[in-house]
Symmetry: C2
Subunit: 394 residues, 2 copies
């Protein structure tokens, strides 16, 4: 094909593909210690249990599971999910929609809400995949200022007044990529501002169950009195990302619009995958499984934080209470992009922070994941990074 | 929430949801004989086999299956799928992408190609789900004229010259909803016109293996010398729609753009579902399974056609060689919408043809599905429809 003859849609004009997913290909090399990605530990993936549950649900309801399902969700799962979400968030949930991973929840919410040029307020840095999603809907992304505890409500209100945004996209708990958690008071204020100014809040909360220290916080959704907060949830971090099951919960008119959007996106989420997750809920398998994941990840996080404490002066980092990521900042003159090149030569990988930043910049930052490495790998890999940084500072 | 305060995206201005999927809810009533939908027969859904294959793949490669996968596809499936598609289409396939049902293939292709206002040429009537997909991309849908054999190449060329379309959407084999099949000469001509005028052809071919009489035809893709034809395939009709596994095959630059689009649509298609379909291909399970499905559906189609032959004069209908649908036309003054209301009272359902027509109209038409009814149900249900129509004509 004459490539000059083909004209792709303008939504791709400034989108070239996820940098993380490209880095994934590099780190697939054998022997690589990867602090990139946000993958669960292999120990945390319940392969035998999923196999047993798949056999059970196919024996009990196989024909319905293999047949076309409703866009609204596989009926047993819809029921158990609704109760699960209401119980977890401790608030009334008027409508819930199972989706093909919470990435699809964000895609459907943008499909329902965003016209080209509409403003979406975002944390900066934020989750790369959903930044790309919003860019493909040709949204105008405007960062809200943060401190060590996340979004600053005063700046949020100022930006709302200035930009009249359609939406705020936030990851309030163990944020990706920074690991920061928004305090309760600010969560309440975000919900109030959303209701006052009629801004849809996409509360993306896939890490909330991965808490290793401190006290769980109420969701932004639980402070929402008027339906402006849509909660995006996932089973990727607590069961399996490969199954692609997530959900969205919120106002019925918004969920209905997302459901109509989903009819032509993928008709419905695969019934088998919904049925397996349904069994995790119905058989109360999640609490023990989450506890074992948290025990493992909590140890690894502490180990990585201990390693970082020994890094040269001028390197600062966040101290999360859970989640999958630590955010580190190098002295201003050190480029994490250059560091990555040298680290990969020594078989260590991470994601440079600039990829998570709206408009780039912040080239002295990096994101470190600890869940998918062994303790030995964390000690070895962090040692290599420490030495490489020390050489650069020297 | 004050509903007047919420402003959904303009792409929904003229889209209210799939009429078929709404009819599905009505026909879920017990005792309903449904010629609506396009569901496989329950006999055709291999629940025990899927269970066995799920156990095997999870035992062999469970950790990788439950972990995040590549957007490009689960590696073993990508390999077997590529060979399968090339073998089936008997032509070189430079790139293939597994997707979450072929509905997602159409969604990703529109995401890659279509800006608001771009023209897409379509058959009229056409598949409701994908008409909705194209409307949500705010495409300008322009029908191309057909005869009993499908699209007329001369009108296609005239419409291309007049509208400079970005895309042609066609279902060349056992079309949904008409059951028509485009002859070989026209297929070749469609491919030629696409190359000459630089129009992307979305060749949606989910029914090609469901042939009960006559001779298989080469795909439009097989006549494509310059990469303008993208083939959309599905395992929904030959394994299971509930598993949501389909694929798209075509030019690498188009597939790459769809892959980047898919990164933020659902990251990747669930690995377990890809792995199960992979086993169907690797173990050569499809030919025998397809043969048994075709034997069953072929009998049912013949039975329904026989029943239609006894309908009152003035009722005409297509005589497909395969697929899932027959299209019937009532005398001009009889509304299929009214007929449906009366039929549902007598526990028989179908889809009025007007729902498949761009811009509506054609209210004297209906689509009849035979795959998901027993032979007794076909005899009883068609008898009821015949009597209702006879009463109206009288």
């Amino acid at each position: 094909m004459d490539q000059s003859a083909i004209h792709f849609a303008h939504r791709f004009d400034n989108v070239s593909g996820s940098a993380i997913r490209e880095i994934f290909k590099i780190i697939a090399q054998p022997g690589m210690i990867s602090f990139a990605g946000g993958n669960p530990s292999l120990n945390a993936l319940p392969d035998r249990l999923v196999s047993d549950l798949a056999v059970d649900v196919l024996a009990q309801n196989g024909k319905a599971i293999l047949q076309y399902g409703a866009t609204e969700g596989y009926a047993p799962f819809l029921e158990s999910l609704h109760a699960y979400v209401a119980d977890m968030l401790k608030c009334e949930i008027p409508a819930v929609l199972p989706v093909t991973g919470s990435t699809q929840a964000m895609d459907l919410l943008c499909k329902a809400m965003i016209d080209p040029g509409d403003t979406i307020l975002v944390e900066n840095p934020s989750f790369l995949g959903n930044l790309q999603c919003m860019k493909l809907y040709q949204a105008n992304l405007v960062p809200v200022e943060s401190d060590g505890d996340g979004l600053l409500p005063d700046d949020l209100e100022a930006k709302i007044r200035q930009y009249h945004p359609k939406m705020l996209y936030t990851i309030p708990t163990f944020q990706n990529p920074t690991g920061k958690t928004l305090p309760e008071g600010r969560r309440k204020r975000v919900a109030e501002l959303a209701g006052e100014y009629h801004v849809v809040v996409a509360e993306d909360d896939p890490y909330r169950d991965l808490r290793y220290t401190g006290t769980p916080l109420p969701s932004i959704k639980s402070f929402d009195t008027d339906g402006w907060v849509v909660f995006l949830g996932s089973f990727s971090k607590i069961i399996s990302p490969g199954l692609r099951v997530g959900y969205m919960a919120g106002d019925p008119s918004i969920i209905r619009k997302c459901t109509v959007g989903k009819q032509s996106t993928d008709v419905h989420t695969a019934n088998l995958n919904q049925a397996v997750v349904d069994q995790f809920i119905r058989r109360s398998l999640l609490p023990a499984h989450i506890a074992s994941i948290c025990a493992e990840y909590g140890k690894k996080m502490k180990l990585m934080l201990d390693q970082l404490s020994a890094f040269p002066g001028g390197v600062s980092f966040t101290k999360p209470e859970g989640g999958l990521f630590i955010w580190a900042e190098l002295p201003e003159n050190i480029s994490a992009l250059d560091l990555l090149t040298r680290a990969i030569e020594k078989k260590v990988a991470f994601v440079p922070g600039t990829h998570f930043c709206v408009g780039g910049g912040h080239e002295n930052t990096l994101r470190l994941n600890f869940s998918n490495s062994t303790e030995d790998q964390i000690i070895t890999g962090m040692g290599i990074l420490k030495d490489l940084i020390a050489q650069t500072i020297r």
